[in-house]
Symmetry: C2
Subunit: 135 residues, 2 copies
Amino acid sequence: MSADAGWLDALRWDADGLIPAIAQDATSGKVLMLAWMNREALERTVATGEAVYWSRSRSRFWHKGEESGHVQKVLDLRTDCDSDALLLSIEQVGGIACHTGRQSCFYRRFSGESWEDAEPVLKDPKDIYQGNPKK
Amino acid sequence: MSADAGWLDALRWDADGLIPAIAQDATSGKVLMLAWMNREALERTVATGEAVYWSRSRSRFWHKGEESGHVQKVLDLRTDCDSDALLLSIEQVGGIACHTGRQSCFYRRFSGESWEDAEPVLKDPKDIYQGNPKK
């Protein structure tokens, strides 16, 4: 971790101290999920090389894959022109990013009238989390 | 546009009535930008087939490409497992999504110490906006 926090200060954190982070599969280019980071989550991500988010629903750090084993190895990290979003190019261990057992969290496609499931479940969440389903 | 707003109600809008929307190039898979939509912006997007965002900095609708001509034709629209983010698969007219003249807004790569420009400028913004640069 860099002792100089300039790279963290350079980002535009929202009123809650968060920034949205997109995780994209480095190989397929598939967008797997959007989650949130605070400063420490991003520091931990950089320090460990694995994605660490801030869970807004649980108000705690969320080392992605901590329960499922489906960690995300960060190969490339970018911000955008406004410095208010992050893009992580990752290797998705296990090939499953979503707590529903799908490759991507973006599996609900707009049909013109409603949102319809458009991606297969690759693994039963029960088998991923052994009775404690969290994403 | 559907008369039934159920598909809009199904989304989880934030306290400001917004949802983050990722625009991904349908051909290359490149993530081009992250912007925000409110309900009407999403309705307009669906009605016109072109991405319409809500500009938080200018507090107005932002039909992407309205000045530059670099509109985004929406080929596929998805939401995620939590219904709190959108993913647009788009055709980027002009091949440039960023107001800096780059293909993608995510051109600033983390070097380990700082954010460094990692993508070429394809067209001078002056030539894109003719003296009125806005993204």
